[in-house]
Symmetry: C2
Subunit: 346 residues, 2 copies
């Protein structure tokens, strides 16, 4: 989706400028954003987790300087840098705790090290919160006062925004909603984290793959079996493709996943009661562009209508996110902007 | 617990003063509170739901005037009145929606009618949020930046405070956490609201009674059977009494309830990540004063330790609330105070 986004030229941009960094386990995206949330340029560098956190901090700082210089700007034109990072983390302390996808980076004071190399002030944020803030600022959530972004992938990311509050929690674990319990049974499905019954174990890409594998092992008839025999890898994308072509098992698995997604949404509605809940991430089956993507969303809404308070089922907007993989760095820049505004003299 | 609270005299009070109203389905409590959250006086009047909302509004207004006059104060000494009401409700609009325990009061503009009769400005709040704010202001939550109060009774009330934000939600349904789903199975226990799998169906007083009834019907040996044969009513209080005396079934039911209470807490921790979660309401089995009350809390914590992120299990305070039935009107007064402070000229 990134490829399709429009960039604006410096002549159409409104200062001040911000840089957003989206730190992932594989790649780091760095974007130059103006005061209206418009992207002037972005670049991506490999994370190289194995080289360690200090090395990555240096390369992040250099990437910030490069994206700024390439656009014809000076460091002084940048009001602040936002850094969105996977947890676990200590947001006020500016350091990582034990991030599952950044082995060897434990307890690293990443905010100040990136600031050191970028030679700019850095605001630290959770990556799921940053992505949510991107949608809240200029994406599908731009008309909301409060919203939740659920990012469906290997796990389920969750970012919660209420007005100008990022619901990060007191120990930076707010939005670990993927690890909330939707099945209390001791024999519930086991989550990637080892615990039973988590939302993530029922509504993530991992859950789709597991259910497909179980059904194929039980010899359910499905065009998936032929695709696998032909050498394809069992991914949500493959399941989505076969579902789009009409395969019953693939459709069943996707709609079953939507049922659980709806259950998770009801829990968010009965706790946070936001204006909207958006769905993003790798596992959206093509979104509004495909029949199965539309079915996935519709089945999710159906479960919400069945289980939520009627007024919430009626009023809470449920839709796909629109910024795709750009939400993270745009939102990180947006959070930096919000903090910058708070500090501006009256 | 109300009987044991200390009142202060006017000479020890710090102005300005506030009045808090806790509107319940049976009684209405009205308290006169000073700027430090200290109670000068309170009185209670029957709700008389059947007489209608206009009549109750008039009597609430009169009760406000009476509690103020009895303390030797004038209406001009009162900065604001806080009204905590059961939902469903429209908080910004100041009106009830479809409150389950106030039949016939649907869509009544209660905030402005009470203000009319009290001749004072009224701030409208959800009763569960008000109780949480009471604990947050001067109770077990007074050292927290954010907290949740779970009120265990026939249902489960939930009030969420994050800093100066009352997490009421966009449609005044934030904190309907009692109706979040902890069992996605179609054959899950049915909640009082008719929906399957809700937290309330597993951890409320209703759930305790139901489980006890099922076990007794299945002829489990228990001293509860003798108490019932002697004419006692099956209540959580009775189950608590027999558990305190050592009855195994009664203990089992209470500890099973604690397990589910812990599951609900983990979900709150992985969504809101507050400093603390407090437990109040009618069903606390004597709290810290009894062995079974201590066991109930300890078993809850045990489930949290087992299921929550380790840092949250370590750092999140789990304890009983301390204000009992006074939390509602104290908190309503506190919310009125907070709104009053926001409006004060700089």
């Amino acid at each position: 989706m990134s490829q399709e986004r429009d960039f604006i030229g410096l002549e159409d941009a409104r200062p001040p400028f911000f840089v957003g960094i989206d730190l992932g386990g594989t790649n780091i995206k760095v974007g130059l954003i103006d005061d209206l949330g418009q992207t002037l340029a972005w670049l991506t560098v490999p994370t190289h987790v194995e080289r360690g956190a200090e090395d990555a901090s240096r390369r992040m700082g250099e990437a910030v300087q490069k994206v700024v210089a390439d656009a014809g700007l000076k460091p002084a034109d940048i009001a602040a840098v936002g850094l969105g990072s996977p947890g676990t983390m200590d947001i006020p302390g500016g350091r990582l705790m034990v991030p599952a996808n950044l082995k060897g980076w434990e307890y690293f004071p990443i905010r100040d090290r990136v600031a050191h190399y970028a030679k700019l002030p850095v605001v630290f944020a959770n990556d799921a919160t940053a992505a949510a803030f991107g949608e809240f600022w200029i994406g599908s959530g731009r008309d909301f006062h409060s919203m939740v972004l659920l990012t469906l992938g290997t796990g389920i990311g969750c970012g919660i925004i209420v007005g100008d509050l990022l619901l990060d929690g007191e120990h930076s674990h707010g939005g670990e909603f993927g690890h909330s319990i939707i099945d209390s049974d001791e024999n519930a499905r086991i989550c990637g984290c080892g615990q039973p019954g988590h939302f993530e174990a029922y509504a993530s890409a991992t859950a789709v793959i597991k259910r497909a594998r179980e059904a194929l092992d039980a010899r359910w008839a499905s065009s998936l079996a032929k695709r696998l025999a032909d050498g394809a890898e069992l991914t949500p994308k493959l399941v989505g493709e076969e579902a789009e072509k009409g395969d019953e098992l693939a459709r069943h698995i996707i709609l079953q996943t939507a049922r659980y997604l709806g259950i998770g949404m009801v829990n968010l509605m009965h706790t946070i009661d936001p204006n909207g809940i958006l769905v993003g991430g790798a596992m959206t089956f093509g979104g509004h562009e495909t029949e199965i993507g539309r079915m996935f969303l519709e089945r999710t809404k159906q479960e919400v209508r069945r289980r939520a308070y009627p007024i919430l089922a009626e009023k809470t907007v449920i839709d796909y996110a629109t910024l795709g993989g750009d939400a993270g760095y745009i939102g990180a820049a947006g959070i930096a902007r919000m903090e910058h505004l708070k500090k501006r003299p009256a």
